[in-house]
């Protein structure tokens, strides 16, 4: 029987669909009996999406002006 540690170590391979059937079966067996690991899996899976949203940046106006001036100067040479 897998432990929580085993299961968490394998989550990425599980989500990438790279797990052999036997291992996948043993992981599912652990998840069926371990609600905390199910919550861990759900929140682990949701993490990249939340981070993607948080990583949206806008170039500051001053830097944007500098970029335009830089490219105008170099492109029109």
């Amino acid at each position: 029987m897998f432990t929580c540690r085993d299961s968490i170590d394998l989550l990425q391979r599980f989500l990438d669909g790279e797990m052999p059937e036997e291992e996948r079966h043993r992981l599912k067996e652990h998840l069926d009996a371990c609600p905390p690991c199910v919550d861990f899996l759900r929140t682990y899976r949701a993490t990249p999406g939340l981070c993607r949203k948080a990583m949206v940046d806008q170039m500051p106006r001053e830097l944007s002006k500098q970029l335009t001036a830089f490219l105008r100067q170099r492109l029109r040479k």
Binding site: R13, R42, L50, C51, A54, M55, M59
Partner: protein
């Protein structure tokens, strides 16, 4: 504008830029500068370096514009150039010396069971939910705290959407090493978000 119309519009702008229309290239820059700057900023964590990388990326894109063929998207291509430049810059910065905080890992009992159970499943609706500023700040701080090798892999894979193979080519690291770092970065970020939801 629908995705397909937007892609077609971008192909048309790219073709005009390739034919020497500078205003078409400037329109492409205007559309992509925020994301290009964003990926550079998150990787190198310096506004000045990120601004320089953005300039270099668009200049390099312009100089090699004719190498962009067929249906290849200008946006994807220029983001890859910026990511590549950022990774190189980060390597240089690391040589100059950087102190890094250790990664946060889950704690287990002697029997391998989770020592602290998640108290709240915050995953429901996470994709659709708008982020408030506090959560956004907590996530950005957690990403910034990741050791650089982990931060870079997380940003390239989970934010920029590169493949493991593309990241391996860019960083010179093996795919298994990249997968291992990505997993540990996700675990650490999950812990930071979990703490935000359960302590605020």
């Amino acid at each position: 504008m629908a995705d397909e119309a937007r892609a077609e519009d971008e192909r048309s702008l790219t073709a005009r830029a390739q034919a020497g229309d500078i205003s078409a290239f400037e329109e492409l820059v205007a559309r992509h500068k925020d994301r290009v700057y964003g990926v550079a900023l998150r990787i190198v964590r310096s506004e000045a370096d990120a601004a320089e990388i953005t300039q270099e990326a668009f200049l390099s894109a312009y100089q090699h514009l004719l190498e962009l063929r067929g249906d290849a998207a200008f946006g994807t291509w220029v983001h890859r150039i910026a990511a590549n430049l950022s990774v190189s810059r980060l390597r240089h910065l690391k040589v100059a010396g950087e102190t890094e905080t250790p990664l946060e890992e889950p704690e287990f009992t002697d029997h391998g069971l989770l020592a602290h159970y998640p108290q709240r499943d915050w995953s429901k609706g996470a994709e659709e939910r708008a982020l408030d500023n506090e959560l956004r700040g907590a996530i950005r701080q957690a990403v910034d705290r990741l050791p650089s090798g982990y931060r870079e892999v997380f940003l390239l894979k989970d934010v920029e959407g590169l493949s493991y193979e593309e990241i391996a080519e860019m960083t010179g690291d093996s795919v298994p090493a990249i997968k291992s770092r990505l997993h540990r970065a996700r675990v650490a970020l999950r812990a930071a978000i979990d703490r935000f939801y359960n302590e605020s």
